[in-house]
Subunit: 285 residues, 2 copies
């Protein structure tokens, strides 16, 4: 695709840096970066991830047709609020954060009419943070969620959609921001909560290490959780997450009772249900 | 290693079949199989996984120096009880089941003095069952747990140890049966319970499929659980498992409260603790 625009990435971390690297391949007119960290700017410029980096946002924003905010949710809202009058007329702004309702709602309340903020969430990432781990390939075959509001222009939604496809995403899904947050509480927050809760159950001495097999490693892989990012994501999506934790706890309770009562019939029912759902998941890949 | 013995594998399923295939490489004097399923016997003979298969146990047992019971726990105990007088004098019998205390205790109570039953647990497996999925490589780099009792002869324990090493296991660990069951409740049962409970939380329509990322897949990988095997394992290790579920539930509760109270300080403490434990786990690999 031809991406004949000036694009600015705000936040040159894992996602922002990767996004820039992937966008480079699409030959934008100019590709700029904004970060408070001078080292990140220098590195991004040296590696030619961006054409030029800025600590101060006003100049690149004033000339950017597309702005991609790759900051944690609170910082993203703060940034847009601080610079709401610095955007170019007609600019399309999107973000990459893992929750959507609050950011879309808040930004829509103060953003000028002449720019279009479209919530976005590339379902991609690594258990690490920072530019050093960025790669243009993290979006390959990933899913990209866009949460349009009724203020967004159709052609701008299409633009974000084609960018997502251009950087390698397999499925670009348009969905309501509120529904996004409900689903993500289940599919993303709960596995992270589980991993942490499971990991914290015990202390490891060398002996126990020998009993760790694939199932334990898989269940705790994301226990290496980014504390700043995830505490924000959990608080921002509190109601949905609490609801999902409770449903999960109910299922645990049911299993606990079945084991207590040595009810193998009920257990097998539960197992078969889970197995057939998991199989169905595999076929959706 | 030279394995100049007659060896019988009881149960030509995933583990039994794989064990036979791995043992073949060590050139035992004779390698026999016992199974109630004629088809499994035929297949194992055709593929030369075993030298000869038997539906009736008496003949191979009477001549076997080593007997490896690869049946589910209850069936393993039943088999040994039924054939307790059919074993060769001086035979070493071991098993492969995922719980140890009950089988070691029960078998020790009725086994004749002239045979030696040594509890064993190769930490290997696949999310499938049956001879079709067997492979000599499932033990490569796996851990193998042996749970000697005070009745076991030292040289027989050493024999089982060298067999485990011979089939490719990386670490062979000698540990008390009771402690094995405590640990395995945490490292193995709980991840399976979690996977099932998580999978059963929701119904999938095509849309939700797009929100499934690595963390969800990892947490639910073992939801494709073998119902017969795992209901037995859970019931056999009931007390330890219930204890571990409760500890896990407490941790979930703590996280739930932290989210409810928007206590990001507490959350980050919890995350950092889990992260450093997970990192320690990686360094134990």
């Amino acid at each position: 695709m031809k991406l004949d625009f000036n694009i600015t990435i705000v936040g040159l971390g894992l996602i922002g840096g990767s996004y820039a690297m992937a966008l480079k391949e699409l030959n934008p007119k100019n590709l700029w970066g904004i970060d408070v960290d001078l080292k990140a700017i220098e590195t991004a410029e040296d590696l030619e991830i961006i054409d030029k980096g800025y600590k101060e946002a006003e100049v690149p924003l004033s000339e950017s047709d597309i702005v991609i905010i790759s900051l944690y949710p609170e910082a993203a809202i703060e940034f847009i609020k601080k610079h709401k009058n610095d955007f170019k007329r007609g600019a399309v702004i999107t973000d990459t954060s893992g929750i959507k309702e609050s950011i879309v709602k808040e930004v829509s309340a103060f953003i000028p009419d002449y720019v279009d903020f479209i919530g976005g969430h590339p379902m991609a990432g690594r258990e690490s943070k920072g530019l050093a781990f960025a790669s243009k390939d993290i979006f390959k075959n990933a899913n990209y969620i866009i949460t349009p509001s009724n203020k967004n222009k159709k052609e701008n939604i299409e633009l974000v959609k084609s960018i997502a496809e251009g950087i390698g995403c397999k499925n670009v899904v348009l969905i309501d921001a509120e529904i996004h947050d409900k689903i993500i509480a289940y599919t993303s927050a709960i596995p992270h909560i589980i991993a942490v809760a499971l990991m914290n159950c015990d202390n490891f001495d060398k002996e126990r290490g020998y009993f760790i097999g694939g199932s334990f490693r898989d269940a705790t892989r994301v226990a290496l959780i980014n504390p700043d990012l995830w505490s924000e994501l959990f608080i921002s999506n509190k109601e949905n997450i609490l609801k999902e934790i409770e449903e999960f706890e109910n299922n645990l309770s049911t299993m606990k009772e079945a084991i207590k009562n040595e009810d193998s019939t009920l257990m097998k029912e539960i197992f078969n249900k889970a197995g057939s759902k998991r199989r169905k998941l595999n076929s959706n890949e």
